[in-house]
Amino acid sequence: MSSIAVATIINDDKVEFLCQPDETLLDILRNRLGLMGTKEGCGTGDCGACSTIMDGRVVCSCLVLGAEAQGRTIETIEGMANGSKLHPLQRKFIEHAALQCGICTPGFLMAAKALLEVNPNPTETQIRFWLAGNLCRCTGYDKIVRAVQDAAAEIRGETT
């Protein structure tokens, strides 16, 4: 197996890496680029812990080959805050106690960010179905849904 050279943009930075043809984007992020905020819960696209945003769409990075990242734009949890300023979703997740163990949190934040970019005012049902690919075993989802609703309201300028 020969390595493949890949040039991509990750969190606004130009990133180049070499990868094997069977390495996933998740493997690359975690093992080659040190971006370990993206988590592996299953490796088969069933838990959403590895959610990242690729060209504006949220995807499971375990189901993307590293080689496919060529020429793409990728956002991970490490790029979500603007310097020391947390994204409203990040802040609301903490405020609403929307995380317990926190392993699913980066994936939820990526997915929720993608949601609010296409739908700034989602209903509870829309939030629940959009996030159905992100498993959380601690919270029962209640506080996660509330945090997303509250962050959406703040981004729309409706609350503090």
């Binding site: 197996m1 490796g43 696209g45 959403g48 769409r57 496919e68 159905a132 690919g133």
Partner: protein, 286 residues
């Protein structure tokens, strides 16, 4: 293992035709990468077709819609003309997996994976969709129903790639719908799937019908008896009952971790009735 990303369909089919051992086409990757996680997976070649021009586009033509093999399901939903024409096909495609999967998975991949439970396949079959197959010696059109031949198996020859799905322009007063049963509200594989496509005349009588079932046999089933049961009717209760019974009768399911024979058979009939009512309404029936 090699990863190739050819620019042309000729190059892609040539790569596949020339491969010495196992080779795979990569579009959305949502099935292929899952298989790659398996310790027993071995492949010599993966051909990523997304760099080939036209793969990522839905094109509306005089005859209908051409859906490229690289179009993710979510993009179908974003195409308003397609949603208006074939809402059942789009809703079926949008039931595949999570939001994350939606951003990657394709209906061509869903078809080629040849799972009996594929969500989009019954809807495509009910809609009369055609697969445009490219091969080393040119292209050919194949009815979608003739692509899968059994669980995990297709009629595609070595070197062949489905480059697009062709959906016709629906006739006037046509409506389609797809319903599936899953234990949860999301993230499951269909235990039963039913697609219904109806065309009505001006007084609301069904003049054409196609009813297709998924996950109740080794491949998708087109149920002629169900179509016959509804043609000439306005979906009166007794007709719906007949539709329901003919669908249940057409099932040849298995017991497995996802459902029992009895459950699948019974629920196929229930969903057929419900899908038919939705399709009828969408076709303008009252």
């Amino acid at each position: 293992m090699r990863y190739e990303r050819p620019d042309t369909m000729q190059a892609a089919t040539a790569l596949l035709a020339g491969a010495e051992a196992k080779s795979f086409v990569l579009a959305g990757g949502t099935d292929l990468l899952v298989r790659m996680q398996n310790d027993d997976f071995e492949a010599d070649l993966i051909v990523d077709i997304k760099a080939i021009s036209g793969m990522a586009k839905v094109t509306e033509t005089d005859d209908g819609f051409v859906i490229g093999a690289g179009v993710p399901s979510v993009a179908l939903f974003e195409d308003t003309a397609l949603v208006a024409a074939w809402p059942g096909v789009v809703e079926a495609a949008n039931l595949i997996g999570s939001t994350q999967i939606q951003g990657r998975c394709t209906i061509v991949g869903n078809l080629c994976n040849a799972s009996p439970a594929a969500d989009s396949v019954p809807a495509l079959v009910a809609a009369g969709a055609v697969a445009q197959v490219a091969g080393p010696s040119g292209t050919r059109d194949v009815a979608v129903i003739d692509i899968p031949t059994g669980p995990g198996k297709t009629s595609l020859a070595k070197g062949e790639i489905i480059q697009a799905i062709l959906l016709p322009k629906p006739n006037a007063r046509t409506g389609d719908a797809y319903l599936r049963f899953i234990p949860r509200t999301e993230m499951d594989i269909a235990v039963v799937g039913v697609a219904v496509n109806l065309t009505l005349n001006e007084d609301g009588t069904v003049i054409a019908a196609r009813v297709a079932l998924g996950a109740v046999g080794p491949k998708v089933i087109l149920v002629d008896t169900a179509a016959k049961a509804v043609i000439g009717s306005k979906l009166e209760d007794v007709v719906l009952q007949a539709l329901s019974e003919s669908c249940s009768a057409a099932c040849t399911p298995i017991n497995d971790k996802r459902g029992t024979v009895a459950f699948r058979t019974q629920v196929a009939g229930v969903l057929a009735r419900r899908a038919a009512q939705t399709a009828y309404t969408r076709a303008g029936g009252k």
